[in-house]
Symmetry: C2
DNA sequence: TATCGTTATTGTTTTAAAACTATAACGGGA
DNA sequence: TCCCGTTATAGTTTTAAAACAATAACGATA
């Protein structure tokens, strides 16, 4: 038995717009340079990946990725500077929460390992 | 914008078996004395409520409720002593996590609210 | 101007969770 | 022995999310 902690960001309407899914998606975009390839690498439909990004960018008020169609290789997607910064802060906060909650777990459930 | 933290307990197979839903359900059972009435008060199907309890009890290895059919009022459900104790510890741990994570939020996102 | 692999949009199909329905069994008490 | 409202179980129907499919537009390059 163990406890899992999940951090999710909500907009002013209480709607989720960022969590582990979008986080992993952004990393995949960084690695592949393409939203389509990123979605595919996660076993996610492209339409869903695009929806996730548009939704998050709308809530945040800035672009997480710069997406371009056309060009020599057909186009592609890259993280914006703001996107990189947001991703870093999200992960730092998430990890701090996980660490803090794990410590609390040992206090509240000392008999569990 | 705000961050929400969700605490979930997983069994050895990584399957969720306890979180806010089951927690609220147990409180409703305490208040109503009936699993059926508890489910109804939450707008939840009885079959789902029963499934939740059986699943959690199996993972924990002890009964959260004592359920009886028949008798003067048709029967009913009450929390076992172990169920009350588990509920109390879950809520205490959950609240400690929420408080710790809220404090961290102010550190990592000081410009928000 | 034709080609390429993207981004973007729309509509359909699958799928899995939840809700719903029906029915049996329980067991005190009238 | 019958009645009551509950627990318990099995099967069906709804519903919402996700996956899938099809198509248009983009724009640098040859």
């Amino acid at each position: 038995m163990r406890a899992a902690v999940k951090i999710t960001f909500l907009d002013e309407n209480g709607e989720k717009f960022f969590g582990e899914g979008p986080c992993r998606l952004l990393h995949a975009v960084e690695e592949t340079g393409s939203l389509r390839a990123a979605a595919q690498s996660m076993g996610m439909a492209y339409t869903k990946a695009l929806k996730i990004l548009k939704n998050a960018e709308k809530a945040l008020g800035f672009a997480l990725t710069y997406r371009a169609a056309g060009g020599k290789d057909g186009g592609g997607s890259v993280l914006t500077p703001e996107g990189k910064e947001w991703l870093k802060r999200y992960e730092a906060y998430r990890d701090a929460c996980i660490q803090a909650d794990r410590k609390l777990y040992l206090e509240f459930f000392p008999e569990q390992r």
